[in-house]
């Protein structure tokens, strides 16, 4: 904490350093890094080409095929190693999109109060009433299945929740005297929003970011499982679950191994979010943890 107090550094960094003192955060960081490492390095160390047909379908695990082969005779291990990138980058990206949109809407609503606040939040409520998957499926089935489109759609689907949380924690801050001071100085409004208010709510927003990543992971994986994500023959964890679920009883590894990776990833991020939530004081904690 010495460095944190003597050097001015970004708030989110010191929050992170503080959270890292908890064991749950450390476990979370370790697991998350492990999964990301697997996804990033995987393609380079995979024994076979992920989409190459290297054997008979549904072979048992052997020395050649450590996790067996899938329904088309491709190496499960190679597909597992090669199929991590999409879910990792897409979940981060869509959570980021959701955060940017939601934080902006939430800050504007909290700061302007009055009818602007009402209108913005009612629009968010309308969004909120449509479940994430339905919302994304609607557009994906209409427009197509581009990766960026999915990122954008999942991001937009996150927006109302993020906006609600942001508005909740910022409502406390907007009436503080330092905001009024900036107001009396007629500082540009965007500067007040992002320079004065935002730094005071980074901790709950970091927690929310974690929660949004977890939701993105499950959402994007679910889309893949339903066939609306990454298209075959490319490798993807969600897609693998979909492709191999027919023989889950006799050859469970082809389904369980990607499912486990997704679960670990979500779990790790969740633990980090928990750790950051732990650094908040009681009052903030409630507002930040609000689902």
């Amino acid at each position: 904490m010495q460095t944190a107090s003597s050097l001015p550094m970004p708030v989110w960094f010191s929050t992170f350093a503080q959270a890292a003192r908890y064991n749950r955060t450390r476990i979370g960081i370790a697991i998350t890094l492990l999964v990301i490492l697997l996804a990033v390095i995987g393609p380079f160390v995979a024994p076979y080409e992920p989409s190459a047909f290297v054997g008979k379908p549904f072979l048992k695990p052997s020395a050649d095929f450590l996790l067996g082969t899938d329904f088309r005779g491709r190496d499960v291990l190679s597909r597992l190693l090669g199929g991590g990138i999409p879910v990792v980058w897409m979940s981060f990206a869509s959570a980021s999109v959701g955060m940017v949109l939601g934080v902006t809407v939430g800050l504007v609503a909290a700061y302007s109060r009055g009818w602007i606040d009402q209108v913005l939040m009612r629009i968010m409520d309308v969004f909120l009433s449509i479940p994430l998957i339905i919302f994304v499926l609607l557009f994906v089935s209409l427009i197509g299945t581009g990766e960026w489109l999915i990122v954008l759609l999942v991001g937009v689907a996150h927006m109302p929740q993020v906006a609600r949380v942001t508005r909740g924690v910022a409502a406390d801050i907007v009436s503080r005297e330092f905001v009024e001071f900036a107001e009396a100085l007629s500082v540009p409004r965007w500067k007040i929003l992002f320079g004065e208010i935002l730094p005071n709510i980074t901790t709950p927003l970091l927690v929310e970011f974690g929660i949004r990543i977890v939701w993105s992971i499950s959402g994007i994986a679910a889309l893949s499982v339903m066939g609306y994500g990454i298209q075959p023959p490319n490798a993807d964890w969600g897609l693998m679950i979909n492709e191999n679920r027919g023989r889950i009883a006799s050859r469970p590894l082809a389904v369980v191994s990607p499912a486990l990776c997704i679960a670990l990833f979500a779990f790790g991020i969740n633990m980090i979010a928990e750790g950051i939530a732990g650094t908040m004081s009681g009052a903030n904690r409630k507002a930040g943890g609000e689902q």
Binding site: P8, R176, E177, E180, A182, A184
Partner: protein, 613 residues
């Protein structure tokens, strides 16, 4: 006088409380309170006064540990309260030792009716009590604290009561089980002076009538003068002086007590307030020997050598000082009152406000307020809470969009909203907020806080900007290194200095100060007031000073505007208003302030003794 000594309410010997990481917060605290007497415990923030207060309930907050000492309650010298099991302590709390917290609004359960909260106290400690008996006792205690005892009132929720009424309920909950000792932790902070006086009278009367001993923890010397029989002054976790209020206030023997008393502004005349140089050492960094030695004008080598023990000055008057009785800090010198403003018809006033109205819906906060502020003068705006004085100052700075008025600044029209005002106007008028904890962004360094104002009005290179910030910081008595600190690394006084520096950064002509010293200790208040006086002289600043403290007004202002329910009831020179008030409301304000005035207290002490005998 010295008849039969009444029974002891509490006897504390050598109390010591340690921090979680070792080292003491308070040590060597010994005192006694007799039944029916009030001991005022006074000290500035960080002196350990609240820690001592809660220790009487056998409680230490935030990991701190009661490390030693004895507390005998109600003359029962066989049982040390600190050695009891948690269960035994719980039984004791509320029944034998009660506590009145600082903020009744958060201490009362907002979703329970007050009648239920009162009966819960009895049910928790005496579950056998029949319903009728409970009702009877609630009725009696409500009468004691001067509140109606009818069922309709008892059915109210805490938010339906005023702050003063809430605190009376707090006191009622404390005394309903007839305890032997109550600990009051700044129970009147945040209340109006008139409400405060009423509450203090109630506490004093209840203690007398029911033979309750009270420990009244406060930072306000005038509260002690009002309520206490004995006073105990704490500094850096040590008792430095203890004795009867009259003795200690008339002849303070410890240099710190003398310094504290010289820092309090007087109502009857203007004085040169004396701030205490330096600041108190934090626990763990305290020096050898006398803890006050670094700030003491008469300290010698001897004072640094060994811890100082309490020595008896007179009967019942103990002092922790080697030079006890030497006048280290003389009484502050009296200054002449400012001359009544001569008619300056030629000059145009800096601020001219005509027919100011502010209404929230049907509720009129300000109703036809008119005033002018001349260049270089200090206009004080006084009134109780709800008088609209804060709204008035906020309207001036452009934070009250609902306002309707004709306001001129240097002859130019002022828009109601700050955003519609010209850059020139924004720069001319600067505002300093009440709470230094709230007015500085906790996530920014002092450099960016002060820099925000700089960047609004100037363009400069990074090094030039830094140079200017360092300059303005040194003008308010801060070192340039303070630039890199976050607000939570600064003390309350330092934060308020940063707020002043930030206002000065704009190079304003007018400074509007909204209760800027109400959250500060008296010695810090003195330093801030002196700083403002100096700045006003050196920069020729015009000031609008909003406050409820009339003694402070006497010390600082040239003219006074008295505000009552949104209307100006009186506006004249400071000496005229305080010495010969015309309006009934001003007279009432003054009467309340006089009760708390130290000087008039000391003079009345003789007559107080007669009453008691």
């Amino acid at each position: 006088m010295a008849e039969i000594a009444p029974a002891l309410a509490v006897e504390v010997r050598n109390l010591r409380i340690d921090m979680p990481e070792g080292g003491d917060i308070v040590d060597d605290v010994s005192f006694t309170i007799r039944a029916g007497e009030v001991l005022g415990l006074v000290g500035e923030s960080g002196s350990g006064k609240t820690t001592v207060g809660t220790a009487l309930l056998g409680f230490a907050r935030g990991g701190a540990r009661i490390a030693g000492g004895t507390v005998h309650v109600a003359g029962d010298s066989s049982v040390n309260m600190l050695d009891l099991t948690p269960q035994q302590k719980r039984r004791l709390r509320g029944k034998t030792v009660a506590y009145v917290p600082q903020d009744p609004a958060s201490a009362l359960n907002p979703s329970l009716r007050i009648g239920l909260q009162l009966s819960e106290v009895i049910e928790a400690h005496e579950p056998e009590t029949p319903r009728g008996e409970i009702d009877r006792r609630i009725e009696a205690v409500m009468q004691d604290v001067g509140l109606p005892a009818d069922p309709a009132f008892l059915m109210r929720f805490p938010h339906q009561l005023s702050g003063g009424q809430q605190q009376r309920i707090g006191i009622a909950m404390a005394v309903i089980l007839a305890p032997k000792l109550i600990v009051l932790d700044e129970p009147t902070t945040g209340l109006d002076v008139s409400t405060q006086n009423r509450i203090l009278d109630i506490v004093k009367r209840l203690c007398r009538e029911h033979g309750i001993g009270a420990l009244h923890v406060t930072h306000d010397l005038s509260v002690i003068a009002h309520i206490a029989d004995q006073v105990m002054v704490m500094y850096s976790g040590r008792v430095v002086e203890i004795g009867r209020v009259e003795t200690v206030y008339d002849q303070p023997c410890h240099p710190y007590t003398q310094a504290l008393l010289s820092a309090v502004p007087e109502l009857r005349y203007r004085t040169q307030l004396k701030a205490i140089p330096g600041h108190a050492a934090r626990p763990g960094q305290r020096p050898q020997g006398c803890f006050f030695q670094a700030r003491c004008p008469i300290a010698t080598q001897e004072c640094k050598a060994h811890p100082i023990a309490m020595t008896r000055q007179d009967a019942g008057h103990d002092v922790r000082c080697l030079k006890s009785g030497v006048t280290a800090i003389a009484e502050p010198e009296r200054l002449p009152d400012p001359l009544p403003a001569t008619a300056t018809s030629g000059k145009r006033p800096v601020i001219e406000v005509r027919d100011l109205h502010v209404a929230y819906g049907a509720f009129r906060v300000l109703d036809g307020v008119e005033f002018t502020v001349e260049k270089g003068e200090c206009l004080a705006i006084v009134g109780e809470s709800g008088s609209g004085k804060s709204t008035l100052s906020r309207a001036l700075i452009g934070l009250v969009p609902q306002q309707q008025c004709t306001a001129l600044l240097n002859g130019e029209r002022l828009a109601p909203r700050a955003r519609d005002r010209s850059r020139q106007q924004l720069q001319t008028m600067q505002y300093i907020f009440q709470s230094p904890h709230n007015s500085l962004n906790p996530r920014q360094t002092v450099e960016s806080i002060v820099g925000l104002v700089h960047d609004t009005f100037n363009r400069a290179s990074r090094s030039e900007r830094r140079q200017k910030i360092a300059e303005v910081l040194s003008q308010v008595g801060l070192s340039p290194d303070a630039m890199f600190a976050f607000p939570d690394q600064l003390s309350g006084g330092e934060r308020q200095r940063v707020a002043i520096a930030r206002a000065l950064m704009a190079d304003p002509q007018v400074l509007i100060c909204d209760e800027i010293t109400s959250a500060l200790d008296v010695s810090v208040q003195a330093a801030i007031v002196n700083l403002l006086k100096d700045l006003q002289q050196s920069r020729g600043l015009t000031m609008v000073f909003v406050t409820h403290n009339l003694a402070l007004v006497r010390n600082l202002a040239d003219r006074v505007l008295v505000l009552n329910q949104g209307k100006v009831v009186e506006m004249r020179g400071v000496a005229e208003v305080i010495d010969t008030p015309r309006h009934a409301y001003t007279k009432q304000l003054l009467a309340n302030a006089l009760v708390a005035d130290l000087d008039s207290r000391a003079k009345r002490s003789g007559e107080k003794e007669c009453l008691r005998a």
